[in-house]
């Protein structure tokens, strides 16, 4: 399939731009999660978005008799349960002796379990437009509509705008939390804002990528970008670019090869980008480090030999 044919098709265009948008937003905002060493909380948020998205569907269908897959409703519901799950995990680790990783695992399974129960209720009941509601698990990029795309773009742009407006605060809080508090910035407000942007980045991917694999969109691009740059603006930008490229290429590959779901292919593409970065980026990578060490060892040997010869 050539590119003209590819972009001439409405569905393909939607898949391509829809996933690319998700990749850019999640990649850019994931940088902060990465730098604050809180990558895994995004896994909890993503899984816990499921009951919220399904509840939004149920409420939309039964109360408002509207389209259950409405993107805005999905985002609101998913943000609500996603945030709740993160708060729940933090509350467990703050109030009991349970460490944070176990708290996250408990929170994740409770919310995801509730989501699976809701999924069964929807499957057993009579609701208009319930067909393919399973897609929230692994995503189905081919059902993205223009309305979905514009809503996602608007919400994603809002998250990115928040990041730009509070850039200074976010940076300070990430690299020197103590100084940030001493200078009078409210830690809780900045944390909430930063977390909200990350949650938004996660939930706009629920429809196209699914809750199970969304973590890869948040964790992988920043980890790859970090190997190429040492500045925050560089990292955020590059991470967004990696996310966008990985999603675009992955979406293209999944369409060209036919019957393969988009989300998993993108995840593998992103992982390939990460592997190349980790192994072979010129500045800091496994190969560069190994070469540098070998050179240092060689230099030292030569120096010692010269010293011996001089004596």
């Amino acid at each position: 399939m050539d590119l003209i044919e590819f972009f001439g098709n409405h569905t393909f265009r939607m898949v391509f731009f829809g996933t690319m948008l998700i990749g850019i937003v999640a990649g850019a905002l994931g940088s902060f999660a990465y730098l604050r060493k809180q990558s895994l909380i995004s896994d909890v948020v993503a899984h816990s978005a499921l009951p919220g998205a399904l509840m939004a569907f149920l409420i939309a269908v039964t109360v408002f008799e509207a389209n259950g897959r409405n993107m805005l409703g999905l985002i609101v519901g998913a943000v609500a349960t996603g945030t709740l799950s993160a708060l729940f995990a933090n509350a467990i680790s703050a109030r009991t002796k349970i460490p944070i990783d176990t708290a996250m695992a408990i929170s994740l399974t409770v919310f995801f379990g509730a989501g699976m129960i809701l999924l069964r209720i929807i499957a057993n009941g009579v609701f208009p437009g319930k067909g393919g509601i399973d897609d929230y698990l692994f995503g189905n990029a081919s059902v993205i509509t223009i309305a979905d795309l514009t809503t996602s773009a608007a919400v994603g742009a809002l998250a990115l705008a928040l990041m730009l407006v509070f850039w200074k605060e976010f940076t300070l809080r990430t690299f020197d939390p103590t100084l940030s508090t001493m200078l009078g910035f409210r830690a809780r407000i900045i944390d909430t804002l930063m977390f909200t942007t990350i949650v938004i980045a996660i939930v706009i991917g629920v429809k196209a990528v699914g809750v199970v694999l969304m973590i890869a969109f948040v964790v992988t691009p920043p980890a790859a970008a970090r190997q190429w740059t040492s500045t925050l603006p560089g990292m955020v930008a590059l991470s967004g670019v990696f996310g966008g490229i990985g999603s675009g290429v992955g979406a293209y590959l999944s369409i060209v090869t036919g019957n393969i779901p988009t989300g998993p292919v993108i995840v593998l593409t992103l992982f390939a980008i990460f592997l190349v970065s980790l192994l072979a980026s010129p500045r800091r990578s496994v190969i560069t480090t190994a070469l540098r060490r070998a050179r240092a060892r060689e230099d030292l040997r030569r120096e010692l030999l010269n010293e011996m010869a001089d004596r």
Binding site: Y34, R36, K37, Q38, S39, L40, S42, D43, I92, R95, T96, K97, I98, P99, D101, T102, A103, M104, A105, I106, S107, L108, T109, V110, F112, G113, A114, M116, I117, R120, I121, N124, D134, L137, F138, V212, L213, I215, A216, V219, T220, P222, A223, R226, Q227, N259, I260, P261, G263, P264, V265, V267, L268, F271, F274, L278, R284, S285, V286, T289
Partner: protein, 308 residues
């Protein structure tokens, strides 16, 4: 054996087999790593299923467990490179492996017909469907005996290495100084966890097996201070959760593992709240007692001397 009895027994044995090694997973702070393992075994299961055509086959279980171990080893390698920070190494490898598994399933790899729903949350009733009969008498689901074997292996491992596990869990550096091969023990333990995850997969699925592993141990950890007590309490919570989860799911016509995960969550919160309240009452009584003692010599009476 009746189907209901066999299936509820299967729920209990599965819960126990997961919960006992889960105690050490919680204490060693490996919960999210095991979450990764649970995802990563998927491609192993698909490939194994293509060869054995039997989800209960021991070859499939051991083979797929190797895929889970891959996450552990990759995680250690990624941390050792020093190029990544925080918990990112744990979140990088498993989505890729899981994605590979999903792609294999959708491509109908070697005609493997696994439904994604079963992959994610399992199906206890389906797992219990194949009954084992001896001399024409049904002695419960075949899968029950697979899980029983896993439970026996887990208990044997914990019993055999109890002192070492205890030492490496609570003071790994000291264990290393003593000359213990902590890395080897950790790998062996993680392999066992991985085997357990794969074995329980059929009943609990990739996403909720982590609840079976972690939740009972975490609940017991809230209220126990000794490892032996912790293990016993964990078993109790696991059995209660399995029974309640199974029967509620049966009544609601919902997936057992999903109901079990939610029930475990409620149980955890209930115990946490009860423990907090009990601690508060105890502390209140203690301060009352000390203030009473302090004021006795001067006032003679204690009632008026209470501070609010």
């Amino acid at each position: 054996m009746s189907f209901l009895l066999g299936t509820s027994l299967l729920a209990i044995i599965t819960a126990l087999a997961c919960a006992l090694p889960g105690v050490f997973v919680v204490l060693r702070r490996n919960s999210m790593l095991v979450e990764g393992i649970a995802h990563a075994v998927l491609p192993g299961i698909v490939v194994g299923y293509a060869f054995t055509l039997d989800l209960d086959s021991p070859w499939l279980i051991v083979g797929a467990a190797l895929a889970g171990l891959l996450v552990v080893l990759c995680n250690e390698w990624l941390i050792r490179t020093g190029l990544l920070i925080g918990d990112a190494p744990q979140g990088l490898v498993f989505p890729a492996l899981f994605a590979a598994g999903v792609i294999m399933i959708t491509l109908d790899f070697n005609h493997v017909h696994l439904h994604t729903h079963v992959v994610l949350i399992g199906d206890l009733n389906l797992a219990a469907f194949q009954q084992l009969t001896v001399n024409g008498v049904s002695i419960g689901p075949q899968y029950l005996y697979v899980m029983l074997a896993v439970l026996v292996v887990n208990v044997a491992f914990i019993a055999l290495f109890y002192p070492r596990l205890k030492l490496t869990t609570f003071d790994n550096e000291f264990a290393t100084v003593l000359g213990m091969r902590t890395g080897l023990l950790n790998t062996a333990f993680m392999f066992l966890v991985s085997v357990t995850v794969v074995a329980a997969f059929h009943a609990a699925g990739a996403l909720l097996v982590i609840s079976l592993l972690v939740a009972p141990g975490a609940t017991a950890h809230l209220i126990s201070r000794r490892l032996s007590v912790l293990l016993v309490l964990t078993a109790v919570f696991a059995i209660v959760g399995a029974l309640a989860g199974f029967w509620i799911a049966y009544a609601l016509n919902a997936a057992t593992s999903a109901v079990m995960a939610v029930f475990y969550g409620f149980m955890f919160v209930a115990v946490a709240v009860a423990d907090t309240l009990a601690t508060r009452v105890r502390r209140h009584r203690r301060t009352e007692a000390t203030s009473a003692r302090r004021h006795r010599p001067t006032h003679g009476k204690t009632d008026s001397a209470h501070s609010p």
